[in-house]
Each structure stands twice: as C-alpha cells, then as structure tokens.
Assembly symmetry: C2
Homo-oligomer: 325 residues x 2
Amino acid sequence: MHVLITGAAGMIGRKLTERLVKDGRLHGKAVDKLTLIDVVKPQPPQFSSKVDAAVSDLSAPGAAAKAVAERPEVIFHLAGVVSGEAETDFEKGYRVNLDGTRALLEAVRLAGGYHPKFVFTSSIAVFGAPFPEAILDDFHLTPLTSYGTQKAICELLLSDYTRRGFLDGVGLRLPSIVVRPGKPNKAASGFFSGIIREPLAGQDALLPVPDSVLHWHASPRSAVSFLIHAAGLTREQLGPRVNITMPGVCCTVAEQIEALRRVAGDKVAGRIRRAPDELVARIVAGWPSRFDPRRALALGFTVEKTFDDIIRAHIEDDLGGRIAN
Amino acid sequence: MHVLITGAAGMIGRKLTERLVKDGRLHGKAVDKLTLIDVVKPQPPQFSSKVDAAVSDLSAPGAAAKAVAERPEVIFHLAGVVSGEAETDFEKGYRVNLDGTRALLEAVRLAGGYHPKFVFTSSIAVFGAPFPEAILDDFHLTPLTSYGTQKAICELLLSDYTRRGFLDGVGLRLPSIVVRPGKPNKAASGFFSGIIREPLAGQDALLPVPDSVLHWHASPRSAVSFLIHAAGLTREQLGPRVNITMPGVCCTVAEQIEALRRVAGDKVAGRIRRAPDELVARIVAGWPSRFDPRRALALGFTVEKTFDDIIRAHIEDDLGGRIAN
C-alpha cells in the first residue's frame, strides 16, 4: 500500500509518519511506499519500505498532479496554514488552505479511474459562537475565522467529491491538539500547549486568556489514532455525511493548570504567567468548547479520559518521561 | 444609488429589475443607475435613470473587476448555473457558481475602501437529507448536489468577507420559486413550476415525482421582496450569521394540484400527467421540505400564506389575469 502524507513536516505529519513506520501496516495491508510532502522538506524516516520526501506547495501549478501521479491508495491531507496566520495573511490562508486542497481534490478527479481514501484534517474552528451548552453533530458551521471558513469549505468539497465518486473522503474536525512538542507555531490556540510544555521544560509560559476559558482538547497521540482509524472506515459506515467532529477532553484553563500541578507538582505549575492578549482572547472566545460527538464515538473513535492523561502522553511521547523540576 | 444585478437576464433578475424601475428607489434612496449583467445580454428596461446592460461571465479574467469598477453601492448577485446543470456539468457548475462568485467577492475586496451591500441568492439546496420534521436555523448544511455544495461554499465566503469588513453581505436561502414564467430551465426543481404553468397555459405538464413529495415554495414576487428587504437590513440586525433561510409555503405535490383545481378548475388541473423520472426524484428526495425559519420572520421577511396565493401571484404577475380554459 502506497500512503501519501501532505504537511508531513508538521507536528501531526511527523507523528503519523512515525506511527506508520512503527506499525509497518495500515488496516492489515503492508505499507510498501510512503510519500511525504510539505512546503519544507520532510525528514525521511528509517523505514524498510520506500520513502519519498519532497518539497511541494500544493497550490503551485502542477504540484498536486505530481503528488498523486503514482496513485497512492491512501492520502492523509494535513497540509495547511494555521489559524493565526490565516487570519493575519488573508491571501495566503485562502491560497494554501482552500486552493491547495481544491488542487489536490481536482488532481485526484482528473487522474480518472483513481479512487483513493482521502483523510482530511478539519478543525473545530469550523464552528462559531454563540453555541448551545454541548454542540451536537447536526449543528451548523458558522466559523468566525478565515481558517475555520477555509476548513468548512474544504469539508463541503470533500463531501461533494466523495458523493460524485471521485474519491473516498473523510474529514476529521480535530480538537485543539495539546501538548504540541517543540517550538510554538502561529496558531491562535498555541498557548494551550505552551502553558504545559514550557513549564515541563523548566521555562516560564505566557497565558493570554482568562483561566475560565473552556476548550476541547486531544493529545497528538489521539490525533494520529483518529487519522489511522478514519482510514479504515468504509463508505457504508460513513454514509453521506463524511465530516465528523472528533471526541475530546473538555476543560477550563484553570483545570489544565490543576492537572499540571497534579502530574508535575507546584513548582512546574508555578511557571505560568498571565499575559492577556486581546486578539488571541477574541479569537478563542468565538471557538467552541464542548461537544456531544455521538457519531465519532459510534464509529469507534477514542480519546483521553482526562487532561492529566493528555499531559502524561506528552511526557511519555515527547519528553522521554523526564520533567524539569 | 447605483445598483448592480448579476444574472439580470434570468427570471428573478428581470423581475427584480422591473421592481426597481417601478419603485425608482431602494430603501429611501433614488436609484440613479442600474447595471445589469449576465452571460446573455439583459434586456435594458425603460427607465428615467441610467441603465447599463452588458454581457459578462464573472468567472472570466477581469470580468468581476470590470463589474464593480464604478463601485455600485448595492450588488444583487443572482448569477449562477441551476441545479440540474451543475449536476450534469461538474466543471461548469464549479466555475460559474463558485469561481464566479469568488471572483466577484475578490474584486470587491481588491477595489479597496469599497464596502457595498452584497445580497447573494443561496438556496435551500444547501441542506441534505436526512432531516428533522422541521429544519431550524442552526441545522447543518450537508448538500447532496454539487449546486447545493457551491451555494454553501459561497455562503461561507460571503460570511468571511463580511466579517473581515470587505463588504456587507447577506445570503438568502431561497425556497423553490414557483411559478416560474416562460420556458422550463434545467433546474431539477423545474417541474414544480411546470405542473402549474403549463396547465394554466392550456398545455399538458409532466410530473416526474410522486404526489406525496413535500416541498418549500415561494412566488417570484416573494423572491424579489426578499431581495429588496435584505438590501435594507443593517449589520447590527444581521449579526455574524448573515445567511438566512427564507420563509416559504410547505405543501405536497398533491396539495399543489388541489390548489390549482381550486384556483383554475378541474379541466386545468387535469392537464398534469405522471411521468416518473428517477434522476429528478432522487435529487428532490435529498432536498428539505419544511423549515422553521424563525430568524427570517424575526427580521421581517414575509411570504404567501397558501399555495393558492402562489398560483394567483403567477396569474396576476405573468398571465395578465388570464387562464386558458
């Protein structure tokens, strides 16, 4: 089986690559080729099967056709500009997140007689306030960011291309993924990781929003397991509504901080400093905080039970079990 | 006030033009220029103010920029390929309905310092089965046609361009508009008009779906009044959710036929012949039939009370009061 990952140099892309390399198989079939593309060159992993790692901007002419020329059976389309950048650079956000995705869908369609599994990472940013207390699966998408708008549009395209029989799509509305390892990115949600990651690494972290902010989270490990699970769902299981809100852990920033205190102690939790940022607070205020993701649960998607589990996943997967006390 | 109408040669475009010419004003301001564009040349009306009527395909390079070069204060964007054609010609549907609309939105954005009222005609085809008994304003959009997908995408764009301050958008999800005067078009919903229009003109009409089909209707007269009303709504009234399901009359095909019998007699109603068409029946089966359009009603949109009223509007507006007995 040939698997293509776009956005492969990103955090989720790297972790998904690691997981596929470790498993060597995807839903019972050996992965005999892995193609990794991104706007910066992905690091090719040590793998017994063939690996192609290349620089590619899917919104550039010909890039999408080249990406699918060898007809990978499974496409994990993770590439995209993050929410903060899509908000500050309107044109880049639409070019990368909308035109890049559309180019990839079109390349698949125009290949003809090609019908890959197409797993797309959407986001809970497709939803916009005001919200009911818990958002059901049939709640409308009224995004309050350009990023959320672009994701919602791609969901619609994915659904139509699936319905028309050009590919077999599934879109996953990911929770805010925490704890992201490494450096902060430009996502407006970045601080949710920062307030855990930096203290665990012995550094102070800035908290731009009030402690009362409630949000919906999953670990990178869960994000990867969502993607893998989605690739195994059949058309019959999915039906016509192929875009699905993923399960998550709902908690406030205050609860996140208390979880950090329980897992890593007072000294670590004491490294969080309040630094209110109006732009971030405004963006986050329009985001959803709690879902009732019945479809995802019925389809077998699973997630951490508590925010403590999410912190522990980070310590195990990214810190080799070590905390800076 | 300068008003631009795209799709001005279409049925709603012509009736909106007539109404603006008749009123001479729009929400208290004199209409001193009317620009009418379409892919076929719109018929310029007799009007005391200036009228430009031109052929323009908004998806062609430069056409959208040209359309807004004189900065019309109000844009009624009605242009589009209908549902049947968007389903049979995938590429044309996306080019006209998505790329054409996006080009117009982009032309407005790139003009800079220009902030028109932008009234967009969406459709209830943005919804897709299965449905609750009555669809509320916060129900999700899961279109089952490419046309519905394109309209849903344009709604998202309209909302984001409004939020970013590039224009002042409002999208109206029109019911199936009946009775359409003139010749049948390629819309899959065309028969809803045909079974009333043809019998009233002394001709037989084909009914491609079962009598039990339930649907959501408004007259062309109401469609025009929706558009006019929308152009007068303020940003404060609309809030962030600028796309609104319009009110309609919910009835079955059997009830439509009975209404025709009441209004025009047995002989006229007897001109409807059953001619099942699987493609049309399948498309229509995925469409919504009943809404609870609270926002539209709260915002002051109004519609006919009964299907009899809809038939009478056709006889008055399009047949000069005459029925072929």
